[in-house]
Symmetry: C2
Subunit: 129 residues, 2 copies
């Protein structure tokens, strides 16, 4: 198995940062279409699989629940006619992510204030001793 255009599960795990276990899990729950198999019955991941995994990873990093990713994968399988639905799903998710970012930024400001406060405490204590 030295086909340069496909990769074993170990190579794919390495490239995607996922574990082999997770890759099988993703296929099992329908996030991945059934992956091609070599003559020995082992999985061979194609470039398209890698690209799709990269996209899934971005969705996951941005906190999309797996059930929504499955919905997206399902739409994709259903073909071009679902493009508007996919756009809709993605747009909603983007809005969620934006809100998440501003929430984080707001909390970060509060954290910074708290940190400044602690620094002040330490500095005044230190100078007094």
């Amino acid at each position: 198995m030295n086909d340069t255009s496909t990769r074993s599960i170990a190579e794919t795990a390495e490239l995607t940062g996922l574990t082999a276990h997770t890759l099988r899990y993703y296929e099992r729950i329908g996030l991945l279409d059934p992956v091609d198999r070599g003559p020995d019955g082992r999985r061979r991941f194609r470039d398209a699989d890698l690209a799709w995994l990269g996209f899934l990873t971005r969705l996951r990093v941005t906190g999309m629940p797996i059930r929504d990713m499955r919905k997206f994968a399902e739409l994709r399988r259903a073909g071009d006619v679902t493009t508007p639905a996919r756009l809709e799903l993605l747009s909603r998710h983007r809005d969620t992510v934006r809100r998440r970012i501003t929430d984080l930024a707001d909390c970060l400001d509060a954290l910074d204030s708290k940190i400044d406060h602690y620094r002040t405490l330490i500095t005044s204590t230190t100078s007094r001793s």
Copy 2:
């Protein structure tokens, strides 16, 4: 029980956005110091409890694991001498949050590209039909 300076668990839940269950849970696991009780044995939350809960909520929103919050609570109980340690913990967390925000922003850019791509597809399809 109409003490204006303390609140029942229901009022506290309302004010913090947490449930009464969660408030008891937080106390149980040591995120909250044992809450004062009224003469009837029920919890009475003081202003300081509210402020602390607000802070905890910010830590939670920014994804701090409960075990770290417990660590922080423990340091706080140990008094002023732990100020440097708390500052350290908080500073580390802030760095984590910053990284998280940039990660999200990067993913958001990728999502935006994907969305633009989908929009292009739809527009060209629509104009052709």
